[in-house]
Amino acid sequence: MFFNSFNFIGFFLIVLFLLSVGRLVGRSVTIRNVILLVCSYWFYGAFNVGFTVILAFVTTVNYLAGKFIINTNNLKNRNRLLAFTVVLSLLPLIFYKYAFFLCKSFNDILHLELSFELLDGLILPVGISFFTFQALSYTIDIYRGKIAEKTSFLDFALFVSFFPTILSGPIEKARNLLPQIQRYYFPTCSDVVQGICIFIWGLFKKIIIADRLAYYVDWAYDSAQYESGLTLAVAAIFYSIQIYCDFSGYSDMALGVAKALGFNVTKNFHQPYFSRTLKEFWHKWHIALTSWFTEYVYFSLGGSRVKSKIRWIINISAIFILSGIWHGAAWNYIVWGVLHTLYYLSEHFLGFQNKDVKWNRLTSVLSGLWLFLLATIAWIFFRVETFDGALYILNKIFCEFSGGFSMGASSFTFATTILMLIIFISYEYMIRYKRIIFDVEGYDHTIVANIIAVIPMLLLMGMFGRSSDSFVYFQF
């Protein structure tokens, strides 16, 4: 049941209906949370009922751990409990996502000929990386004393399985979402309308931009050997936009659904391609994951408050490489992480991240374009499944640039895709200059503009929308 399907619209209307009935029965937070929990498991189980067992396991482990940690004053025991919980929670993730890669690498390095066919056929439970990290944030926050209150199992189970965010985030921190779960709030008319507007904006990005670009990108990469460097360069640029629209589109849909239910979840993207530096980019791209790694890994390693520069470099490298590994068990993701480390460190040592750097319009634009270029090169490693494949594409782009340009399926389709991109960029500028606001807060004075803005989006979706059954980030 994908957000961009009619099944989901039906499901969502049922949820709203049940919540309204629940409200008539009594304005009780328990009734509302029971309804949302059942619906969330129904939503997740629609992909595969078996996956709900893993979800329940991760939920139970972290809930019990939180309960024990909060009741234990002994630091040693707290440390042990936390370590045990982290390992136990990560076990399903490691098994489903990394076991095959680890065993295969082990095999290759030691020149063994062991068979891991069973692991190769495993289906990765959708959203496992997201809900595991979300659940762990609760345990770690309790360990660090950021959450002092005990939480009911019902509230915690809903926090982990909350259907708008379970598949691809945003990875919510317990201290943001749990308090909202614990108090009763019924969405206002304005919440629902704004939620729908945000959802439509996300859907627009997904089916008008991401899915249209995907056709060209898939075609170009599938026939890379026959295409010129210019065609592959355009495909690489398109992929940078595709992955942004795909993932931020999903995140906005999640944001919209949650808003329409009366919940404010973290905005995951703040127009990252308008950034001037990589540091800024990572404050605007997949904000929830960046924030998670920063708070729970980077700070744990000492962050920037370490004595030696080398140690800081190691900390930064660890975050980017971990981020790469989080995306998938393959060397290309690690290379992607390494590339971002190199970009980040170069930028740091060249002084671009200093607060006293003065940016004018020209340097901002040039820097933004340079950043986009660097990000695009790194995305090639993300998109192409093998390291050699990525090198092949890069070699063609830089060494065999000429040789004609292919427009893909037809010149008309290509032209309409470009037209849609222009419209999309216009919307992005309207958002940038706050003519319209597709956010959970601060939209009251733009709500009329927001509603007007979504009408052409709906018409364009009807005429130009491509429907795909997948989101790029579902695989992670």
């Binding site: 009619f6 206002t188 008319c189 304005s190 309308v193 399926a409 037809s410 008309f412 389709t413 309409t416 709500i447 009329v448 509603i451 007007i452 979504v454 009408i455 052409p456 709906l458 018409l459 009807g462 005429m463 130009f464 929308g465």
Partner: protein
């Protein structure tokens, strides 16, 4: 605030449907012009991509002096073509119709290889009774009602949008420039990777019904087998000959039906093909000329 938002939403919904109908009007005007559904036609071309790429509508009109409606679409099968015929006959464009050139080929009765979702190409014409019934049978309920209510969704296919734009621009060009790589295709055949010819009785029945709809109205039907590559025709020679013989017998048994088979003359001229099934621009010139000559001949016979 609540009331204000409600009013805004109602106005927005109204604005949406007004814009939706306006876009539909503009698009339909283009599409009708592109397919020739808005004119009194003398000749109707019905077929899929073979006939589409084999004929130059404007040249036929110029050289015969007859109005041509080229209602050809990629991937349509026999039942789709039947709907296209019924659709066309239900429009004012059919009042003056005298000849129908119906595209046939070795795979007409195979029923495979063509799009199973080709009914989606008919969404723009959902306001037509025949098309409405057809789409309702073929599509899911949600799909049907979505396209019935929100008209812009009817033009989701890029080919349709392209058709509308070209209709507005009066541009009916349809051709490919490339020449088939025969050696590569030979290798494909050596591997046996080719669609097998079948004669599905249901499809044959639908075909017969389609032709009878036209002949019952006194319209002369010409079954046109535009060239397909000789290597393909020789892949299953017995079946190929059987199907061609069937068309010959069918035409002979119907007073108002002719069968024009261009394969004997042109199938071995590889420079005319863009791929095994479709002609390139040179092939289009040759076959358009043959069709013009054929129509002139028939038209003269009728006049006498």
């Amino acid at each position: 605030m609540k009331r204000k938002i409600l009013y805004i939403v109602i106005i927005a919904v109204l604005a949406f449907f007004i814009a939706d109908n306006l876009i539909n009007y503009v698009m339909m005007k283009g599409i009708n012009n592109f397919y020739g559904l808005n004119q009194k036609a003398d000749i109707l071309l019905i077929g899929h991509s073979h006939l589409m790429l084999a004929t130059d509508k404007e040249r036929i009109e110029r050289e015969t002096g007859l109005k041509v409606s080229k209602y050809t679409r990629e991937g349509v099968n026999v039942s789709d073509k039947k709907v296209m015929i019924e659709h066309f006959l239900s429009t004012p464009a059919a009042d003056s119709l005298r000849y129908v050139l119906y595209g046939v080929d070795l795979a007409t009765f195979t029923g495979e290889g063509l799009s199973k979702n080709s009914y989606k190409l008919f969404y723009p014409f959902l306001d037509n009774e025949f098309v409405d019934n057809y789409v309702r049978q073929q599509s899911s309920t949600v799909d049907y009602w979505l396209h019935k209510l929100v008209k812009t969704t009817r033009f989701n296919d890029d080919g349709l949008k392209n058709g509308a734009v070209r209709g507005w621009l009066n541009n009916w060009d349809n051709y490919k420039n490339n020449v088939i790589d025969v050696e590569s295709y030979r290798k494909v055949l050596e591997n046996g990777d080719e669609r097998r010819i079948k004669m599905n009785p249901d499809i044959m029945h639908q075909f017969t019904e389609s032709i009878e709809i036209l002949t019952s109205k006194g319209i002369r039907v010409i079954l046109v087998n535009t060239p397909t590559l000789d290597l393909l025709n020789d892949f299953e020679p017995k079946k190929y000959n059987k199907i061609m013989e069937w068309f010959k017998v069918f035409a002979a048994g119907h007073q108002l039906v002719d069968f024009w088979d261009f394969n004997p003359q042109y199938a071995s001229n590889h420079s005319l093909f863009s791929d095994r099934l479709h002609l390139n621009i040179y092939g289009q010139k040759v076959i358009t000329h043959e069709i013009i000559c054929g129509i002139k001949k028939i038209d003269n016979e009728n006049s006498n």
